[in-house]
Each structure stands twice: as structure tokens, then as C-alpha cells.
Symmetry: C2
Subunit: 164 residues, 2 copies
């Protein structure tokens, strides 16, 4: 089985797939509420599409064992999908560029820290949630609306993921 090592998640590395949601000096930020709070503003392109609406859910995810074999990816062609960890634990992000099918040679694997969320742009291929270490909760912002918004694609060859 071909294997990939997870790279650290950063806004720059993840840019082809969407946004990293995190406190960063690179974000537009400014004090509010009489200086008691700093607002890091508009960190993700939430896109529910013309006929959809943004909804908020919580995903409670069981942890996966490593090394993990990636055998499929999914995509949501009609809207973005954001994940923000609520329990402070790292997780894995597996993505491939939007397109008719995920190209195995274009897969990227990132290790996200518990302070980092991700927002997948519409159509970006990604693996379902890969929590690590323990049961973990994530706030999820995605789309409700008409139409079929989840497609799955099996990979021709499984890909093994290692942390280091």
C-alpha cells in the first residue's frame, strides 16, 4: 500500500481546498466590546449556494487508529462544509482537488491541531471526519437545501496514512 505522511495544517498549504479557521495575526482582527474581546473576522467562505442555507450541527466522532487506510473520499458539490474542533484534540484532514473524481496522486494529508478548523470549498474531495486519540466533538457548518449534496468516490488503490 502506498503511504503518505501528514503535513502540518497551515492556511497556505490548505488554500487550494478552502480555509483554515484559526486565531492568527494574518487574519483581519480588531478589538470589540470595549477592548475586552478581539474579533478575528470572517475566517471562512461559508457558501450554502443560491438555493441553500447555512446550518449548524455537532458531529461526535469516534477516534481512528493509525496507520489509517484511506479507501474513499466524498464531496459536497452544492455547498461548503466547515469543521471546528470543540474538544481541543488533533485530527486528520485528507483532501483532493475538486473535479470529476479524486486523483490519487493529488491527495494531500494534513494534521490539524485542536485549535484549527477547516472549511472545505464546494466540490473539494475530502475524507469523512478522522478524529484522533478519543471521542471528539466538532461544530459543523454546512448546507441544507434541495438537491443531492453528497457524492462518494472509491479510490482505485488504498492509501495508508502515517503521522510521521
Amino acid at each position: 500500500m502506498r503511504t503518505l505522511r501528514a503535513a502540518p495544517l497551515s492556511a497556505t498549504a490548505f488554500a487550494p481546498f478552502g480555509e483554515v479557521i484559526e486565531v492568527s495575526d494574518a487574519a483581519h482582527h480588531y478589538p470589540i466590546n470595549g477592548g475586552t474581546t478581539e474579533r478575528y473576522h470572517d475566517l471562512a467562505n461559508i457558501d450554502p449556494g443560491a438555493e441553500g442555507r447555512a446550518i449548524v450541527s455537532i458531529f461526535r466522532a469516534k477516534p481512528r487508529a493509525l496507520p489509517f487506510a484511506v479507501r474513499m473520499l466524498e464531496r459536497h458539490p452544492l455547498g461548503s462544509q466547515a469543521f471546528m474542533p470543540l474538544t481541543g484534540r488533533p485530527y486528520l484532514v485528507v483532501v483532493a482537488p475538486a473535479g470529476d473524481a479524486p486523483r490519487p496522486d493529488a491527495l494531500r494529508v494534513f494534521l490539524a491541531q485542536g485549535t484549527q478548523g477547516v472549511n472545505y470549498a464546494p466540490g473539494v474531495w475530502h475524507h469523512p471526519l478522522l478524529a484522533l486519540e478519543a471521542v471528539s466533538d466538532f461544530l459543523v457548518i454546512d448546507r441544507a437545501g434541495p438537491g443531492e449534496n453528497c457524492e462518494e468516490a472509491a479510490l482505485a488503490e488504498a492509501l495508508g496514512i502515517h503521522l510521521a
Copy 2:
């Protein structure tokens, strides 16, 4: 100074003001991703209004000292505003029903746990973020768009808040 004790935050008690965002058997929930994740679905009425869009930000809030004197409230007439704690610490929620001005006798104070978010319905009067214990981060889902979406109102009389 008149004083109020914080009540435990619950979906029922908070219903006149919006929704509590939390994992709960009362929510619509179902397994996804081959049973590895439980989805607690569509937990808040995210409402950016007809001319707005939902945006995601992070608020980094300094903790307040108790007892705290509430002297003002604010409201966002054009959209909802949701807060989800990212650092697992409790916080205070001070609200009054939507209307031309907050009625001091209608103020309610809730102690939210670090696993509970709140979504204020459009126009609901609320105090700016009241973190407790330590600097705390919150994911915030509110509105960007045309028009003036923040109004403040001073209370005729300050209200002291105690935890118990």
C-alpha cells in the same frame, strides 16, 4: 444595586431568546460515516436575513470578574448571532426579549457550560460576551451585509450578576 443569580442554561429556559447548541438526545441525531460519527443535526436557526450572508469568526475574550454589573445590552436586528465555546470554559449569558428597548424586569441571566453554545435570534437583546475564569475563544456565526446591525441600549439601572 439590584442583583440577579445566574440560572443553569437549558434549551427550554432559553427558548424565548434562541437556541442552545449542544449534544442532546432531544436533538435530531443519527449515525453517519459508517457509524463512526453521530450527527446532531441543525441545532440553531442561523438567520443572516434576506440581504446578508452567514460568516464565521473567532472571538478571543478576556474573563470578567464577578459579581459583574450589567449596564447595557445590544441587539442585532438584521441577523442571528451564535457563540460556541472552543476552550471548554463556562460563560455568562444575559438576555432580554426583542423589542424597542430592553426591559430591566425582563432580563434573564444564564450560566452556560463549556459544552453549550447559544444562538441569539435576530433582535434579541443580549450583553456582549462574558467569558469567565480565563481568556476564552468562541466560534461566532453571525451576519455580514448591508445596513446597521448593531444597536446598544443603556439600562436605567445597573444590575449585579452573581453565580449563586
